[in-house]
């Protein structure tokens, strides 16, 4: 352990020095601009000598070859000439570049690389991700992934690892495709399936599993910042969960990714727009909003615009754009004009800038629609009867009014000895006031007062007709309000004016008015003079013109199956991101995605049926030293499951998990007082009872300012901003959650019930059975040596203190099996708890 850790550290140093060990040999041969030079220039020079004209120093830009040569930064092929090398090699603090106050320093290796590059002719390449992806030729019958990974491994002198054992493979597939553990029976069925296409059959069945959409949707929800609350200040709820279900259903039905994109950006503008595409357009409403008193509309109008541009930049372009709110991008060709003209695409979205979100669009099934129509028809019928009755009454009322004396009018209910109710007296008083005014001077309010009195007191005919109307109204609106709603995009002709905000200042209205336009530096069709719409933007995002969307998506999809993106910077394919070590592979995947008609299941199948995917994740020390972060895929990777899956796994093993798909978000147990700092209004957290308590993690109520603490402990993001990459931390709070959160304690005691009721009878057989349920393998002798004494000790403790056993077994709402001995059950709950806490249990390998 010590020696491998030591070599680990040495290789780490190399990586920290920005020269991945595996790249070293290549670097000495032919310098490549995108791979070797751009990262150096971008990180150290472009800040002052790059695309941002306002910040450019000495009128020198190094991001364009012609300009750099014209400014005598270098002479291609002649490293002895030009100022660039002279300045970076200088010892003089006045001369040296980057200047000391930038706190940037070039390493000797970087300087040498720059020198070599100039000597070799200082060729530039357009930034890799702005070039159209190129599809490598793959020999017929080969999996493109395997071919390109192998090619790269051969170049590097690395060998692939052997295939993982069949248990690992089936567990890996279950985790990666549906996010649930397989049962021991499912594992054994696969292990014992001798047919040649056993693996492919398993893949196909999991791709068809309805939980596939949940697994695929989970990180999409991070990316688009889906949450149940508005985010700022009071952080109140909004109606939005149908969008989450839309995402799940879209993946389940394998909706082509281009269509999925178009629906989210412009599902309301499609000629064939329907409920589904409109719910998809809820994407545009997922941003943060405020109800804070004293918030200014212009301020939040600007915040919402910038929020949306950042979102489109992150989600589809895989680009950082936020800095262009105030100035041109320092590293990429993205300008302030690009930023605000991208924002102008969304100026048509109708929404309250401040305050409560509207209830949103009804999202209903055909049955609910029919029921609503039925109630509406009943309401109309009741209305018709009431109208007719009203006409009769109006006529009678006119006659009654005419019969009243013009002077000295009094009403019987107001007489001193009247036995009328208070309500009748009030009505009479109001009517008398109204009647005392000449008929032609009565406004609607006065007229109503007379009518109300007349119908309630003077003439009580037809009252049941009006009661029926009221009931029909309640039945319709009550039903309607109980149906799901979702905030969606609604386009208005009354568009907001979008201006460039100088330095991002929303109070400065001197900036130029911007029309919708696509980023100027990316290829795009001729649109002519017409004004562009969100639909144009959406179509362009998934057109062949745009080199970014397919790469961004495939890079992130890769992470789901290998733990890291092909370019490890998932939110920035720009100059400050990372050129993928295996760029041809990312390009091939992007092209294949587009060529397949954006068929996501096809891509997933390609990945999981590749040999690359099926390798073992156990690394040899030599491989660990050569490629510590597994960037080259000479093996699989092992990594901790995401927060939601940690929960799903424990509940699944315990038998508590309720596998319903979709519906309103749910509230698992949460420590009391966790929401105490929320206000306007103050809120109590009412944990769900019954089935809703045991749903999958992705259905958890997502309170942005106070995300559920057990999800947060495992790095689920608050979803205030788009999140392309979750942290994957290893912190003590995770141990506290798995040990003490009632969710996991309850899971342990229910798992123990399963062991004692479904398992065999002897202790050792029971332990085997428990291991099979939790890990789908048998315990080895060493493990039994740990667990058997543990069980015995807990049995002894609870025998001496049966009350303690009772206490433990009261955790959680799930009823306890009272036929079991509480002492035995409590002790076995500890065994179950240990299993649910194991690193192996929460690790996908």
């Amino acid at each position: 352990m010590i020696s491998s850790a030591a070599s680990f550290r040495i290789s780490l140093l190399c990586v920290v020095a920005a020269l991945p060990v595996v790249n070293q040999t290549a670097a000495e041969e032919q310098v490549q601009f995108n791979r070797d030079i751009r990262p150096i220039l971008s990180d150290n020079c472009f800040f002052c000598h790059g695309p941002d004209a306002n910040h450019r120093q000495a009128d020198l830009r190094l991001d364009l070859r012609e300009e750099a040569i014209a400014a005598n930064a270098f002479v291609p092929g002649k490293p002895g000439e030009g100022t660039l090398l002279e300045r970076i090699m200088s010892d003089d603090p006045e001369q040296i570049m980057p200047p000391p106050d930038s706190h940037k320093k070039l390493t000797p290796a970087q300087k040498k690389t720059l020198q070599q590059w100039i000597a070799q002719g200082a060729e530039y390449q357009q930034h890799w991700s702005f070039e159209p992806p190129v599809k490598a030729e793959i020999p017929a019958g080969e999996n493109g992934i395997d071919f390109l990974v192998q090619q790269r491994l051969q170049e590097l002198g690395l060998k692939p690892s052997p295939e993982a054992d069949r248990r690992t493979l089936v567990r890996r597939l279950y985790n990666d495709l549906i996010g649930l553990p397989p049962t021991p029976e499912q594992v054994n069925a696969f292990i014992n399936d001798g047919s040649e296409d056993a693996y492919e059959k398993l893949v196909d069945s999991l791709l068809a599993n309805p939980h596939y959409g949940e697994r695929m949707g989970q990180w999409w929800l991070d990316l688009v910042r889906f949450a149940d609350t508005i985010g700022y200040h009071s952080d109140n709820p909004r109606n939005v969960w149908p969008y989450r279900d839309y995402v799940i259903e879209s993946f389940n039905e394998n909706k082509p990714f281009d269509q999925f994109t178009i629906e989210q950006i412009a599902g309301d503008l499609l000629p064939e727009a329907n409920q589904e595409t409109r719910v998809g357009s809820g994407f545009n409403r997922l941003l943060l909003s405020t109800e804070e008193g004293g918030a200014q509309p212009k301020d939040y109008e600007a915040r919402m615009l910038t929020d949306r541009v950042r979102a489109v930049g992150t989600v589809w372009l895989g680009m950082t754009t936020g800095c262009c709110q105030c100035h041109d991008h320092k590293f990429d060709p993205f300008t302030m004009r690009d930023f605000y003209s991208l924002g102008a695409f969304f100026a048509d979205i109708q929404e309250p800038i401040l305050g409560k979100r509207e209830a949103g669009m009804l999202v209903i099934t055909a049955e609910q629609e029919a029921e609503l129509a039925r109630r509406d028809a009943e309401l109309k019928a009741a209305q018709k009867l009431a109208n007719e009755a009203g006409a009769v009454l109006d006529k009678a009322q006119a006659e009654w009014e005419a019969s009243l004396p013009s002077e000295g009018l009094s009403l019987p209910e107001l007489a001193e000895d009247s036995k009328a109710s208070k309500n009748e007296k009030d009505l009479a008083k109001a009517a008398l006031d109204a009647l005392s005014k000449p008929a032609d001077q009565r406004d609607q309010k006065l007229k109503s007062a007379i009518q109300e009195y007349y119908r309630a007191v003077v003439n009580r005919e037809h009252q049941e007709t009006f009661a029926a109307l009221k009931k029909a109204e309640q039945e319709k609106t009550g039903y309607e309000n109980s149906l799901p709603h979702c905030i969606v995009s609604i386009s208005t002709n009354n568009k907001r004016t979008v201006r460039i905000l100088p330095r991002g200042n929303w109070m400065d209205e001197s900036g130029e008015v911007m029309q919708p336009a696509l980023p100027h530096f990316l290829p795009q069709p001729e649109f002519g003079e017409r004004e562009l719409t969100r639909l144009d933007l959406a179509n362009w995002l998934v057109s062949r013109d745009n080199p970014l969307t397919a790469r961004a998506y495939m890079n992130r999809l890769w992470k789901q199956f290998f733990g890291t993106g092909l370019s490890k910077v998932l939110d920035d394919l720009g100059a400050q991101g990372e050129t993928p070590p295996n760029a041809p592979l990312l390009d091939w995947l992007a092209c294949e995605l587009m060529d397949s008609g954006w068929d996501v299941k096809h891509m997933v199948r390609l990945i999981v049926t590749s040999k690359t995917y099926q390798q073992t994740s156990v690394a040899t020390p030599a491989l660990l030293a050569a490629d510590p972060y597994n960037r080259e895929h000479a093996r699989q990777s092992a990594f901790r499951m995401d927060a939601e899956l940690v929960r799903d796994y424990a509940l699944s093993v315990s038998g508590l998990l309720v596998l319903n798909i979709g519906g309103p978000s749910v509230k698992p147990y949460q420590p009391g007082g966790y929401w105490e700092n929320l206000n306007f209004p103050r809120r109590e957290y009412d944990a769900d009872k019954g089935e809703s308590q045991y749903r999958r993690g992705l259905y958890t109520w997502w309170q942005r300012t106070f995300l559920h603490p057990s999800l947060m402990a495992f790095d689920a993001p608050s979803r205030e901003e788009c999140c392309a990459e979750r942290n994957r931390s290893n912190i003590p709070q995770q141990a506290l959650v798995l040990l003490n959160d009632p969710t996991y304690v309850e899971a342990a005691r229910k798992f123990a019930e399963r062991i004692l009721t479904e398992g065999p009878k002897s202790t050792e057989e029971r332990l085997r059975w428990a291991w099979q349920q939790a890990l789908q393998r048998d315990p080895d002798a060493e493990e039994l040596k740990v667990i058997e004494p543990l069980l015995a000790q807990h049995l002894q403790v609870y025998r001496e203190d049966p009350q303690a056993a009772e206490s433990l077994l009261k955790t959680g709402l799930a009823p306890r099996n009272t036929e079991l001995d509480p002492v035995e059950l409590a002790a076995w709950s500890h065994v179950a708890r240990v299993l649910l806490n194991l690193h192996e249990t929460i690790t996908r390998s």
Partner: protein, 474 residues
């Protein structure tokens, strides 16, 4: 960034290995754990600047206390009280709830006094703070960019109004690590008071943003589990918990042998840390060991969750080596009831602040503890009358705050506002300046302390530059 954090992980694990994690430590899990002074390293190896502050106690007065009643007496404002605010002052300015209203001057509602040898002018409402006036530096020229609570807190804590950035406590523990072995390096306490209906505070305010999650602030709560999920489940004793943790770690170690996964060593260490916290945190929260005199000096009832109790806890945390301690006290948002409510808030914090300073001095920790007292913005010189009895609106052109300890010049007043207290005009300070100054005292050069995020060298002090307020430092 990922590389750094990962390498840190390994490094720490190696350090822990040397301490004998694999040997006796597991066997000793059942024994009462003792706080150990084994520092957790930060990413900054050698601090480029002299270290004046080893730790920070930041007192956040949420809601925006009125500088015009507490710290910044304006005679002209008193003279013009009730008269229209000169339009030239407010034209084109950002206003919150007074937007579009007629604006009238509101003179100071409470008297002022000169305190200490320095003759520092502060409110009658702050006699105890006045008694330590010669230990604090009052900054009267602070400004901020945001004008609504939520973004203003975000700006004050993270230097950005966009969610997702690390708060200062996370930056500092990331950079410097922590000396507290069995407590988190960044701790947050929110006082509970009777109060009215205070502004909400989001957990985002102590989020680690794009930094690894272990740098996030951990809230210590005064009721329920002090740290979420800290208590054993019902019916599980401390010894039983220890047995399970030991078994988990033993099984994990066997797994480590067969997979060589270096993450497992970290997992084992985190279980050990969690188990230690189950003892150390309740010990820390238990004030029964403090003598009666100390408690009376702070003016708290142990366990009452008050700001005063939290000040005492802050001192205890500081003693344990916690790097960054942030105390929130809410309900300073006096749009109305300024005359009625402000004295109550002042009383809740005044005595405890002074006691904390004196206590730290007594313990010899004042010299290396940086204290900061600040709201998220100031309040308007104009009255607000549309929410009930008279108050003041949010204001970002001027506010007052104070710092103390760790090389901050005591008995000094820095900066000033115009004669109506509307704009800071002399030695104007920004939030980024404040951050730069705090980092400077911690030994960190603010413009060299960055983390790669979304392609940028993200810094706490932003991209526009910041100024260390050398004038207030000795």
């Amino acid at each position: 960034m990922q590389l750094l954090s990962t390498s840190l992980n390994r490094r720490q694990v190696l350090a822990r290995t040397k301490q004998g994690l694999y040997g006796v430590a597991l066997a000793s899990l059942l024994q009462q754990s003792q706080p150990q002074a084994a520092p957790t390293a930060g990413v900054i190896g050698n601090l480029p600047l002299p270290v004046r502050a080893k730790r920070v106690i930041w007192m956040t007065m949420a809601g925006g206390p009125s500088h015009l009643e507490l710290f910044d007496r304006k005679q002209k404002l008193a003279d013009m009280s009730g008269q229209p605010m000169p339009a030239s002052v407010t034209q084109g300015q950002q206003l919150a709830q007074l937007q579009g209203q007629k604006l009238f001057c509101l003179g100071p509602q409470f008297g002022f006094k000169k305190y200490g040898e320095s003759g520092m002018e502060m409110s009658d409402l702050l006699p105890h703070l006045g008694s330590v006036a010669d230990d604090i530096c009052l900054v009267r020229s602070m400004t901020t960019e945001a004008i609504n609570h939520d973004p203003a807190h975000m700006f004050m804590n993270t230097g950005s109004q966009i969610a997702g950035r690390p708060s200062m406590g996370s930056w500092v523990t990331y950079g410097l690590g922590s000396e507290a072995e069995d407590l988190p390096g960044f701790v947050v306490l929110v006082s509970t008071g009777k109060g009215r209906s205070p502004q909400p505070i989001a957990a985002r305010q102590w989020s680690s943003g794009f930094l690894p999650s272990r740098y996030q602030g951990v809230q210590l709560r005064s009721s329920g589990d002090p740290v979420l999920y800290l208590s054993n489940p019902p019916g599980v004793s401390h010894a039983q918990q220890g047995m399970d943790v030991t078994a988990i770690s033993q099984l994990n170690r066997q797994q480590e042998r067969s997979t060589q996964d270096p993450e497992i060593a970290t997992r084992i260490a985190q279980y050990e840390m969690a188990f230690q916290m189950q003892t150390s945190v309740p010990n820390l929260m238990d004030l029964s060991g403090e003598d009666a005199l100390t408690i009376s000096r702070y003016g708290c009832e142990p366990g009452d969750g008050s700001f005063a109790s939290n000040c005492l806890l802050a001192r205890r945390l500081a003693q344990q080596g916690v790097r960054f301690i942030q105390l929130y006290h809410r309900d300073w948002d006096h749009h109305s009831l300024l005359r009625e409510e402000l004295p109550l808030r002042a009383r809740e914090v005044d005595q405890a602040c002074a006691a904390l300073i004196n206590d730290l001095k007594h313990l010899g920790m004042f010299e290396d503890t940086l204290l900061v007292w600040s709201g998220e913005f100031g309040r308007t010189p104009m009255s607000q009358g549309n929410k009930g009895p008279i108050g003041r609106d949010h204001h970002n052109k001027s506010m007052s705050m104070w710092l103390a300890g760790a090389g901050v010049k005591g008995g000094t007043v820095y900066g000033g506002t115009d004669e109506l207290g509307y704009s800071a005009v002399e030695n104007v300070c920004t939030v980024h300046d404040l951050h730069a100054t705090m980092l400077h005292q911690l030994g960190i050069q603010h413009d060299a302390f960055s983390v790669k995020f979304q392609g940028l060298d993200a810094k706490l002090t932003g991209v526009e530059g910041a100024r260390v307020l050398h004038e207030i430092l000795s």
